[in-house]
Symmetry: C2
Subunit: 344 residues, 2 copies
């Protein structure tokens, strides 16, 4: 009675029991995931997506357990504006994958999902084939508050899916804010899905996006759209010709396809897999994966440093100082000195 003085309270007893249970669970979840159990894969991802600090510890342990079983998949990132047909394209591409016996996981990074309640991949009606296929695992974007949080969860979910034996991981993003850079940083091949349009569509192209991609695919190249799609493809090739490629030794180019009529999809498949074998041969594939892990670690360090420093009071102080700097009343150096005054 001395050791657990409040154990008679049923709520405290439940909490205590739960904690003990979780310590056992991690190893079990890991083993089940490695054996290919979908239910436990979902359970593992839920653990990763939890923000409770004791869950974070368990999640880290879980990942350490599965770490020897990761790294065997091909990771493909897909971005494109809403309406570019990402879901339809993934449905078509995923069909090709399962027909070749590739176990496929479909994930998403959607920084807006915390506002909209999960906009992309929520609508599974566009992926009716994949949604019901036993070799396909679909998981919508976690709806955490920050992009950094979503990024961590998706990166760790990729690892779990790999441990569960998925050969192809597709990561979709709508490209809000910095999300393309983040998805590029967790995938081997990065693809921009674009639309045909009035010829001016490239004007509104997002800053820096072209220097992240390994290929541009102009979707909906069917019927009356086909000619315009060829023109758009040409325009993209014009730009790509001048830019530094995202992957050393690989010349990114533009292609057309129609996900709806399933034309040009097989060609993109071949393209991606020749990219994978070329980069594996040159060593660029392994180098990128190592670099991505180290970059991710560095990002986590920066996030943690900021979280540690910017407690509520510091946030307020920073905001006040920022305003004075904005008005040129205080020099940035002086402002930073004031901010760190009592810290060191």
């Amino acid at each position: 009675m001395r050791k657990f003085p409040r154990m008679n309270n049923p709520i405290n007893r439940r909490v205590f029991k739960k904690k003990v249970q979780e310590q056992i669970d991690v190893k079990q979840i890991a083993d089940k995931i490695i054996s290919g159990d979908r239910g436990y894969l979902s359970k593992g991802i839920t653990l990763i997506e939890s923000n409770a600090s004791h869950h974070r510890q368990s999640a880290n342990e879980l990942i350490q357990h599965i770490l020897p079983h990761i790294g065997k998949s091909v990771r493909v990132g897909i971005t494109g504006v809403p309406g570019a047909g990402k879901s339809t394209w993934i449905e078509a591409f995923g069909k090709t994958a399962v027909s070749k016996n590739y176990k496929t996981a479909v994930l998403a990074v959607d920084p807006s999902s915390s506002l909209s309640g999960g906009s992309i991949l929520g609508d599974k009606t566009r992926m009716e084939f994949l949604a019901h296929h036993p070799d396909v695992f679909i998981r919508p974007s976690p709806s955490s508050g920050t992009l950094g949080g979503v990024a961590r969860m998706t990166r760790e979910t990729i690892l779990l899916c790999e441990a569960a034996g998925y050969d192809l991981i597709l990561v979709e993003t709508v490209g809000v804010g910095q999300s393309e850079g983040i998805v590029r940083g967790m995938t081997d091949f990065f693809l921009l899905l674009s639309l045909t349009g009035a010829g001016d569509e490239l004007q509104g192209m997002k800053k820096g996006i072209m220097e992240l991609v390994d290929a541009v695919v102009i979707n909906k190249a069917d019927g009356a759209n086909k000619e315009q799609a060829m023109k758009t493809m040409h325009d993209y090739n014009q730009i790509l010709r001048f830019l530094t490629p995202a992957t050393k030794g690989w010349k990114p180019r533009a292609y057309t396809c129609s996900a709806l009529y399933n034309s040009g999809i097989e060609e993109i498949w071949d393209l991606i897999f020749s990219f994978i074998s070329e980069t594996k041969e040159s060593g660029e594939f392994q180098k990128r994966r190592s670099r991505q892990a180290v970059d991710w670690m560095n990002q986590l360090v920066q996030i943690r440093l900021n979280e540690t420093f910017f407690i509520e009071e510091k946030k307020r102080q920073m905001k006040n100082l920022e305003e004075k700097v904005r008005q040129h009343e205080l020099s940035p150096s002086e402002a930073v000195d004031l901010l760190f005054e009592k810290y060191q």
Copy 2:
């Protein structure tokens, strides 16, 4: 004798005297700079470039003193590969400036200067006219170890030059590492000086550079080179057409000139000054300056956070953990947990 027990030691006496002297100096240096004294301007910059911590304090005080006198100049950044003719171009452009009674300062951000001992602006023979003109102030790149350090010094040097009454500040960079982004972040107008060549010269273009520029100027458009320069200009315009402009409401374009034969320089002058009046009218000019000051503050905060955390021991630990993450022995999350274990 009790108060200064070691004052009989001549070295300690000198240190003490020096400190007292410096406390007086700051206000004097500020006043002299504001009155336009070139010698004191140099002295102020030397103070800014010092890494001694008590100098940092004096430098901050100095900047606070001159802050009400800054902001009236036009700041132009110039980048280009070695051989693009930056010095010759600056000589020609500066000549135009002084002929219009613009007091001109020429600065540089050269991250390689700490290795090479100051490569750019060191060779003043290419700026013979400017080097001897009473209305021109030339200062080579500070040779500090880090790019962040060089950036801080140059930003603060810009402020001193403005307080000293310079109307036009030219900041040159060779574009090593992140230096273009840094110079873009401290200037109003950013210009890429390019060469004509075999037609393939755009291929090696640096990542992201085109989305930073307000204009591309193809230099050496003279004699037999002229035709090729027009072709290069056309190529640049092709790309610029598709990219998001660096400055809201301004369409960056490519131009040709010959700094050697002084042709096309006046046109660039007019271009820059119509940019300045347009952006001042739209409010974008003031907005950018405020944004730049706040961005700079944020960068300083990040630098300081890292300096505070990464003492020697942490650096070593980070390096070890990084290697384990690179080998996929440790997950990034787990590595970061270990790094912060004893910190919080």
